[in-house]
């Protein structure tokens, strides 16, 4: 049990920033550049940790609470979700609801921290972020409902258990395909990737997520970046397990399969960032509603 | 012989595309019309051949074939004179389209396979769209677009209805899925009822759109209003009869399956609604062609009521089919003449037609008297027969309602027609003159209707009776 916990946390903490590096490298290769080294995010985190804080005089304790919660929540959430075939350290009935709302908690604190600075840019970004997440959350819940219907349980461990492989080959395979696509779009929205948000933009008026963290500096910024990487890995874990439902029995090969799946996911995100442009802001709610309807349809197919 | 009847207009259409002379193209129409009428007469009167599963003539289709062919011949003769007047528009499209239209109508009349029937009716929609667009102005585009879209969607629903009927054969067990009419009629009692009823409803809606029964009639005033006179005559007299034939096939099927009463109720309801809507919209109608369109809706309603009541009224409906087609031909052609002369069809410009155009004006006036059911014209006899049937079957309230609505129609239509024909004669600006080709057809149609009102020849009576018998309950 303790070993499992350590393995889980080790995988999470060590591997998460590498995903960011893979995405950046993929984009660079697509653009014909060599790009930053794969371990660049680790160097960035180390550099930020060494610097000092700069706080604005208008902020309160909420301003620091945002990054802290943003770091702790993915850690907690990762304990609930199985990494590939490695079972989750903590598992109980209904933990999928906790999973979804832990992220809601972190979003709340991020938004509160952004509003705390009193800057109008950050308020604007906060409003956009909350709207989009509002529309993405039902999709996530419907997708989890589909999985719950297929597995007859309400714990993430049961949902992503060993019945997934035969489920893909049966009639429910179509629904699983649909929710895989919906979950991927939810991943892109929650992690502020193209086509919903451009992580490389430097124009504040076009930012959604980056603008909320504009005022942070030093270790707080490091916490935010690390937290974002952890969040991507945890949400990616859900997708990878759904897409690669195989398991061997040996922990090492399962872990390697999981990491390979995550790397593949990162490459996919990098490719999408390179070939697509960002959606116009009014289109984003339309696409999100479409995704939600897709997941509802998948649910109907499974309920039939 | 029947196959030749369907294919030869297509061959003439091809010829029309290749001929470079304007007049020659126009004359192709009456020549082919005459040949078609001759061949149709021979086929109908001649000995019946072995019925093929695809095309064959029974009593109903023989009747509609003769009527349609006659109407087409008359309109084709008119067309020569009309196209001579409209040289600015050219006839490279209208002549082939008219011929393809004839071929498609003949195919629809003779079809014994429901899928073939559908195909032919859709082909008539497509062939008639360029005809409506002949005048190429804003209003005709609007009319053509509405016609094309509404009729295509309606006919798509009819296709769904046909598929439901095939499914009724499949789901009923005992017979394979088929759309051949004779097979379906023979095994009708084995058809699955819910699918048959659903199919009937969709067929009624789909072909009812084509026929112009309310509430699916909204394209009619626009299309008939903007199309040239002879196109209006063909649509109102010929195409509606063909669409009605398609609906009658569905009624035949329902009757053979034992659910004839339900089928008739639906028809009766739609017929009454059509009559009501036509009566309402004909009051204070300022456009003479739209008036005629609503008159067409009214008469389709009367046909539906006739078949809906059954018995003697069905015989009346068959007679009415013949009379209506001929009278509509007469009315539309003379209205077309009036429009050409006044360069307008609205009452603000058109009045005093009796004085300025003695022949066309009086034909129009006489046609109005005929279409509203005045004796001694034929429509009086057919409407009277239908009313006798209604009162005979005990549905007094429906009969009274029908009489009231017919009176309303008479008043409404009369107001418009009398304003157009009487009143202060206007100095005509166009160079239009009534000539032989333009008036002979409407005049002959009118005389035929007058004849039918006074004397019903024995062979025609037998034909009508046989046609009505096909629709009656075979208990």
């Amino acid at each position: 049990m303790i070993i499992r916990l350590f393995l889980h946390l080790a995988l999470l903490l060590l591997f998460a920033p590498l995903l960011q590096g893979v995405i950046t490298r993929t984009k660079a290769l697509f653009a014909g550049r060599v790009g930053a080294p794969l371990l660049q995010p680790y160097y960035d985190l180390a550099r930020l940790w060494r610097k000092g804080f700069v706080f604005s005089r208008t902020t309160t304790w909420v301003f620091l609470a945002g990054p802290l919660v943003g770091l702790v929540v993915p850690l907690l959430a990762s304990l609930l979700i199985p990494f590939g075939a490695l079972p989750a350290p903590i598992s109980f009935e209904g933990d999928l609801v906790l999973f979804v709302y832990l992220f809601a908690l972190s979003r709340f604190f991020t938004v509160a921290a952004a509003l705390d600075t009193g800057s109008s840019f950050e308020g604007m970004g906060a409003a956009r972020e909350v709207t989009f997440s509002c529309l993405a959350e039902p999709t996530l819940l419907f997708a989890l409902l589909v999985l719950a219907r297929l597995s007859d349980g309400l714990s993430l461990g049961t949902l992503l258990g060993s019945h997934l492989l035969p489920a893909w080959h049966s009639d429910a395979g179509a629904s699983l395909g649909l929710i895989l696509v919906s979950l991927f779009l939810v991943l892109l929205v929650e992690n502020s990737r193209i086509p919903f948000d451009d992580p490389n933009t430097h124009l504040e008026l076009t930012m959604i997520h980056e603008v909320m963290i504009l005022d942070h500096s030093g270790p707080a910024l490091g916490m935010i970046l690390y937290g974002a990487a952890l969040k991507m890995m945890v949400m990616g874990a859900l997708l990878v397990r759904l897409a690669l439902p195989w398991q061997t029995g040996w922990w090492l090969s399962d872990a390697l399969l999981f990491l390979a799946g995550l790397t593949g996911l990162a490459v996919l995100i990098g490719v999408i960032e390179s070939i697509m442009a960002r959606l116009r802001l009014p289109r984003v709610p339309q696409v999100l509603v479409g995704t939600m309807l897709l997941s509802i349809f998948a649910l109907v197919l499974v309920l039939r | 012989m029947l196959l030749l009847l369907i294919l030869f207009p297509l061959a003439v259409a091809l010829l029309a595309l290749l001929l470079p002379w304007y007049q020659a193209r126009s004359w192709l129409l009456p020549v082919s019309g005459a040949l078609h009428l001759l061949m149709a007469g021979v086929t109908v009167a001649g000995p019946g051949h072995a019925p093929s599963p695809w095309i064959a003539l029974d009593a109903l289709s023989s009747l509609v074939l003769i009527v349609t062919s006659l109407l087409y011949f008359g309109c084709a003769v008119y067309a020569v004179g009309y196209l001579d007047l409209r040289r600015d528009r050219g006839n490279k499209t209208i002549v082939p389209c008219l011929l393809v239209f004839l071929s498609a109508m003949t195919l629809a009349i003779a079809a014994r396979h429901l899928g073939l029937l559908w195909m032919a009716v859709e082909a008539t929609t497509l062939a008639s769209a360029p005809l409506i667009y002949y005048n190429r102005n804003r209003l005709s585009i609007e009319a053509t677009w509405k016609y094309l879209l509404l009729c295509s969607v309606g006919i798509a629903l009819a296709l769904l209805g046909i598929l439901f009927i095939a499914y009724a054969a499949l789901a009923g067990g005992g017979m394979p899925a088929t759309l051949q009419l004779d097979t379906l009629l023979a095994g009708a009692t084995q058809l699955s009822r819910p699918w048959l009823h659903a199919g009937y409803v969709f067929l009624l809606v789909g072909f009812g759109t084509k026929m112009g029964l309310a509430p699916l009639h909204s394209w009619k005033p626009d299309a008939y209003g903007e199309a040239p006179g002879m196109v209006g005559a063909l649509l109102a007299g010929g195409l509606t009869s063909v669409a009605f034939l398609a609906i009658l096939r569905a009624v035949q099927l329902m009757t053979a399956a034992g659910d004839g009463a339900m089928a008739r109720q639906a028809l009766l309801g739609m017929g009454l609604l059509s009559l009501l809507i036509a009566a309402i919209f004909m009051v204070r109608q300022p456009d003479i062609k739209r008036l005629l369109a609503y008159s067409s809706v009214e008469h389709m309603g009367i046909l539906a009521i006739g078949v809906g009541i059954g018995g003697l009224a069905t015989f009346g409906a068959m007679l009415h089919l013949v009379n209506n087609a001929l009278t509509k031909g007469c009315l539309f052609l003379s209205a077309g003449n009036i429009q050409r002369a006044y360069d307008s069809k609205r009452l603000s410009k058109v009045h005093g037609a009796l004085a300025t155009l003695p022949i066309s004006g009086s034909i129009f006036l006489a046609g109005f008297l005929a279409i509203t059911g005045s004796p001694p014209f034929g429509l009086f006899m057919s409407e009277f027969t239908i009313l006798r049937g209604i009162f005979g079957s005990g549905q007094t309230w429906i009969g009274l309602l029908m009489v009231l609505l017919l009176a309303m129609v008479f008043i409404g239509m009369g107001a418009t027609v009398l304003t157009a024909t009487q009143g202060e004669p206007v100095k005509l600006e166009s160079a239009y003159k009534d000539n032989f080709l333009l008036v002979i057809s409407p005049l002959l149609f009118l005389l035929l209707v007058l004849l039918l009102g006074v004397y019903l020849p024995e062979p025609l009576q037998n034909a009508l009776r046989e046609a009505a018998a096909l629709l009656e309950v075979q208990l």
Binding site: G290 | A123, L126, L148, S152, L159, L160, A171, S192, D222
Partner: protein, 212 residues
């Protein structure tokens, strides 16, 4: 063969959703073409590789997948419009309506008295759903070309239902139906062109001169 028809029919439904929510005319035409091409495979997958099925499939692919979209794209090119306007109900409400009617179609199809071999299949619900989506497009959109696309989708839905009954539909009749569809779209394309020339727009809400 049934396992292959289900993903195909699912793709057809997804294409319905895309067309209901999209404003880009060229993309919509291409996607409806894809739907037609997918439907052309349906007779092959459900009835095996008989001569009848193969000819029907080839014909449907040619007409629905190639020629009709080409006609429509040519009409769009001549008329020089690229985007649909906001529909009468709005894109997102239309999409929601489309999904609701699809769900309704699935529920309704379970209640229908189908022949035993068609129960629990996806044919009938997909046919109903596609027909509803076609109707929605016809009713709620303003540009004439999208209305034609709605008509095509309606015909696609009817085609799915017809595949169930291919014993009843001899080859000649199906050929005739497809030919009618082709000529229909051709004529509609011409009329659309004329509308655009006369009115300088394809907004059918302008076609309101004829009244009463």
């Amino acid at each position: 063969m049934l396992e292959l028809t289900n993903p195909l029919l699912l793709a057809v439904i997804l294409i319905n959703f895309y067309t209901l929510g999209s404003a880009r005319l060229v993309a919509c035409v291409r996607v409806v073409a894809l739907q037609g091409a997918l439907l052309a495979l349906l007779p092959l997958l459900s009835h095996g590789f008989t001569f009848h099925a193969m000819v029907l499939a080839a014909e449907a692919f040619c007409f629905k997948g190639v020629v009709i979209p080409w006609l429509l794209l040519r009409a769009i090119h001549r008329v020089r419009i690229r985007r649909e306007m906001e529909p009468i109900v709005g894109f997102v409400p239309t999409l929601i309506l489309g999904v609701l009617t699809t769900v309704g179609a699935f529920l309704f199809a379970d209640l229908l008295p189908l022949a035993p071999e068609h129960h629990d299949g996806m044919f009938v619900p997909t046919a109903l759903a596609t027909m509803f989506s076609g109707f929605l497009l016809l009713i709620t959109r303003r540009k004439a070309i999208t209305q034609i696309l709605g008509y095509l989708m309606l015909e696609n839905g009817i085609f799915i239902f017809a595949v169930l009954l291919s014993a009843a539909m001899p080859f000649m009749v199906e050929a005739g139906i497809l030919l009618d569809l082709l000529v229909g779209v051709f004529v509609m394309g011409i009329v659309v062109n004329q509308i655009s020339r006369e009115f300088s727009t394809l907004n059918t809400e302008r076609l309101t001169a004829l009244k009463e």
